[in-house]
Amino acid sequence: MRKVLITVRLPHGANLESARRHLDLAEDEVDTGYGLIPVDPVNDLYAMRVTEAASLRVAGSHPEASGPYADPPIAPMDRIEPYGRPE
């Protein structure tokens, strides 16, 4: 199932399991491979990836959570695939 990016403010030292419990998320709603990523430790802000449905539920019921955020593909700015020179 497609996963999306959300952020959540959690007590300092949170881990994926405590985040999952705090946000009432089932295990299969969370990208456990991605984990819980500290985005801004000073402000105890974390990122995680959850299913789209879970992101909407969490954002609606937990004011400390926000999202979904865009998670666009990123690509190297390498060899140019030319349009060609302007005429």
Binding site: Y69, A75, P76, M77
Partner: protein, 453 residues
């Protein structure tokens, strides 16, 4: 931006401009125009007035038979000048209103057709880049990157290939390298590709830097086979890099992060203005973590992108302002590309940026024969090469100037201030503050060291 200014001075002055035996300067014709730096090397040119060939015809239409009058009371004069990019629309509107002799202000576009484009062969080689970056002089100052952590966030590094082409051993710091979940392969042992080119180019100025191999673009979480990852992989990578930085002793903290990647299309993004948007939104988690890492003392550099108007990459899908998201973050250096002749490559993205207007910040060298990562005759190209070239210079500086002595913000300012300005009015959206100038940086550091002594 260069402009042509059409003015209608007194008939005597028009006659003087039209007379080849009389020397008239730009200042004689149009001195003191607010916000305009006149080009004094450009001699004013008299321009005839189009006049309908048929008496009584519409005097404003150019779609009819015309004659051209050089009568001093009808002709006008054109001078050249430059207006700061961020003032252009205001000045163009206000000048004719505030100065009655100004008829109009026109663009003066560069008309050369020889900008380096993606399918052109290499312009010079990496030894030229070495020379242009004053690498020998940097080394004499002890600025060789020794002990400096230089993270290459890309497709992974093949150290053996880089060593073979560079002709010396390199250091890949396995312990502090990091891979996204599911990416296999040891640091420094990835297939030869884009990341190897970036590592090679970073080592030109900082041959003794310790490379941190961060192959986020090898992530296959989308299930694809092309070389790309997801922005969430980069968030996780940056969290790791912050741990790396914070584990260093505060006195000697130095971490340079080179990012030759970006988002090419708004297709997978939320629209600007949406709370979840990435391209224009400083509150997106990746833009937050970039700010957080920079605040902790890291020097972060991003490629400006290959969406320059002259010959952009066909993947570029943003309709305008292609320097988006973290590539335009206020706390990173956004790097455009020039060739070894000092000319902007036609594909180097122009500003303004989306998170910060003044992007790119600087330009560095690209499109040279270097790593051979894509074959013996393929140049290291794109702003992908320019970014690590600049990152190498930053890493060289950090050898003796950790962030405790020269903060990331101070170093960004120093690089902008010492850059070789390519316009007469300071910042412009093609070259930013100018081309990185290692000799200027060395001189500024010497002065700084003398003041501190």
């Amino acid at each position: 931006m260069r402009v042509l200014i059409q003015v209608r001075p007194s008939p005597d002055l028009v006659a003087a401009v039209a007379d080849p035996t009389v020397a008239v300067t730009a200042s004689d014709v149009a001195d003191g125009l607010p916000g305009v730096v006149l080009d004094h090397a450009f001699a004013p040119v008299a321009v005839p007035r189009p006049v309908p060939a048929t008496p009584g015809a519409d005097p404003l239409s150019l779609n009819q038979p015309l004659t051209f009058s050089m009568r001093p009371d009808e002709a006008s004069v054109v001078v050249c000048g430059e207006i700061a990019d961020d003032e252009i629309s205001t000045r163009v509107s206000l000048l004719p209103m505030t100065r009655r002799e100004v008829v109009a202000v026109y663009a003066d576009p560069v008309i050369e057709s020889c900008l380096t484009c993606g399918d052109d062969p290499a312009v010079g080689d990496w030894h030229d880049v070495e020379r242009l970056l004053h690498v020998a002089e940097l080394a004499d100052e002890g600025l060789d990157g020794g002990g400096v952590a230089l993270a290459v966030v890309d497709t992974g590094i093949n150290a053996a290939h880089a060593e073979r082409v560079l002709g010396h051993e390199i250091t890949v710091d396995e312990d502090r390298s990091w891979s996204p979940h599911g990416v296999s392969g040891k640091p420094g042992e990835h297939p030869i590709d884009h990341g190897t080119m970036c590592a090679f180019d970073a080592l030109i100025a900082a041959p003794k830097a310790s490379l941190l191999d961060i192959p986020v673009l090898l992530s296959r979480r989308r299930g694809g086979s092309t070389l790309d990852g997801l922005l969430s992989d980069a968030i996780a990578a940056y969290a790791h890099l912050r741990d790396v930085l914070e584990a260093q002793p505060a006195r000697s903290r130095a971490l340079v992060v080179s990012n030759s990647w970006g988002s090419f299309s708004p297709r997978w993004d939320f629209p600007p203005g949406s709370p979840g948007n990435y391209s224009d939104n400083p509150a997106h988690p990746f833009n937050l973590i970039v700010g957080s890492l920079a605040e902790a003392g890291a020097d972060i550099l991003f490629a400006a992108g290959n969406c320059g108007r002259d010959c952009r990459d066909s993947r570029c899908a943003f309709p305008d302002r292609p320097i988006v998201g973290a590539n335009s973050h206020p706390k990173v250096l956004s790097i455009g590309g020039i060739d070894t002749n000092g000319e902007r490559v036609g594909y180097s993205s122009q500003g303004p940026g989306r998170l910060t207007e003044r992007k790119p910040d600087l330009c560095a060298y690209t499109h040279f024969a270097g790593s051979q990562a894509f074959g013996d005759t393929e140049p290291d190209s794109g702003t992908s090469a320019a970014c690590p070239v600049a990152a190498g210079l930053v890493a060289a500086v950090r050898t003796r100037w950790p962030s405790a002595k020269l903060s990331a913000s101070q170093l960004r300012t120093l690089l902008r201030r010492t850059a070789d300005d390519r316009s007469d009015v300071g910042y412009d959206h093609d070259y930013g503050y100018g081309v990185v100038d290692a000799a200027g940086v060395i001189a500024a550091l010497r002065r700084r060291a003398a003041r501190a002594a």
